[in-house]
Symmetry: none
Subunit: 228 residues, 2 copies
DNA sequence: ATTTATTGTGACACTTTAATGACAATTATC
DNA sequence: GATAATTGTCATTAAAGTGTCACAATAAAT
């Protein structure tokens, strides 16, 4: 939950409406009236999702989307486009340049929220607060609890986030820097090897219930959460 | 329950009907025949919920809703709109400007009450006055009394609300700001850390009956009421 | 088998975060 | 209007969590 969502919309009323909806749904809206402003805001911090109006003054939404999807840094950020009802060609071109979903104006808040959740689930599963379970190991973001075969496992904040990240993207190797980016955030300056230490602490905690080897080392590459 | 509900409806018969219904359901109806009158009434005191007819003389319901949802002070007040049956576009536009739900005329009292309850619960789940019990700790909102194994526990107003909120949403972690929003109300400007102090006072009070560790700290995140 | 690259581990200094006690200000109560 | 209760803040203390490093262990390469 609680995603940072960048709204790029030139009409103040609609922008306001969107922001209102998002914050009511527990998100953190960041507002931009133009592509230029959006780019400026993204220099500070990358959002978790972008809601992009297709009809914008200056650089168009399509161009912006294409640009975002080309850049290595931003291509993973999901984009939901806002189109006027019936603009079928927009939808097609939008999906073509890499938008993840679209919502037609006028939109219902319910629908918008559903789509946001769906997109986040697809692109950034650890942003949603669905519980994850694997082999008797269960992590529940809302209660902030981890259990192994029903037995509570105590974890520190970092270990919790780390496990959450790994479990959200199982069967996939993550390099130390990827882990640092996603778990620590991209602002911090921390040694790569620090990840090792936290992996160790995590394994230690998981030993209580014999789940420690769900966390695997891939020599020369990184770590992986795997169900054997 | 017992919410103050503002009815904005120009047809006296329907207004009367609504008011009757609401007071029978234990609420406190406040009546306005027009948006202008409603605004006047809201200068004195903000209602907990607004039932708004979409077809009004003078300023239309839509405009009024939009205005309410723009104002920082009033944007949190839930709005239920009354629409004529089948006016699909009204519903869409209504939800678009931020109404929380709608009821079509002619409406059944049962349905209306259900929706009111749902909307109110969404805003403030701890507003319901069903007694809550957990592990011998019992909180009764109607009598405003807390007992631990039948023994009365004295609590200050804030501690009571805090416990009520936590018990209404057990097992879930609440950040300090969430707690502030829900227990103190979102208008106040209070330090996050103040929550700690009240948690402390609450725990101190619960110690009399050994219930203090139902309130758990989740480091780096917040607090949780839990029965484990 | 020896060398080399990589990961695991324990210890430790350091930071961050929460608990606690005291206090002044405000509000309710008699 | 005096007294008591309640509140929010702060300074202090206590506790928990974090990042680094040195060295041990392990796997891969020669």
């Amino acid at each position: 939950m609680a995603a940072n969502i960048l709204i790029v919309e030139d009409e103040p009323a609609i922008q306001e409406l969107l922001a209102l909806n998002l914050s009511q749904a527990g998100h953190n809206p960041i507002r931009a009236l133009s592509v230029e402003q959006a780019q400026m805001l993204m220099r500070d911090a990358l959002p978790d999702l972008i809601i992009l109006d297709w009809m914008l003054p200056g650089m168009s939404g399509i161009e912006f989307a294409r640009k975002l999807k080309t850049d290595e840094l931003t291509k993973v950020i999901p984009i939901i486009m806002l189109t006027a009802r019936g603009e079928e060609s927009d939808k097609i071109r939008g999906l073509e340049v890499g938008a993840d979903d679209y919502v037609t104006k006028p939109f219902s808040p319910r629908e918008l929220n559903a789509r946001i959740k769906a997109v986040l689930r697809r692109r950034a599963p650890q942003m949603t607060d669905d519980p994850i379970e694997s082999h008797g190991l269960r992590l529940d973001p809302t209660t902030h609890r981890v259990t192994g075969n029903k037995k509570t496992i105590e974890l520190g904040p970092t270990e919790f986030k780390l496990l959450h990240y790994l479990m959200s993207n199982p069967e996939r190797v993550h390099s130390r820097s990827q882990v640092l980016d996603r778990v620590w955030g991209d602002k911090v300056f921390v040694e790569d090897r620090t990840v090792d230490v936290h992996i160790r602490r995590l394994r230690l905690a998981l030993e209580q219930t014999g789940h420690e080897d769900l966390i695997q080392t891939v020599r020369g590459v990184g770590y992986r959460f795997s169900a054997q």
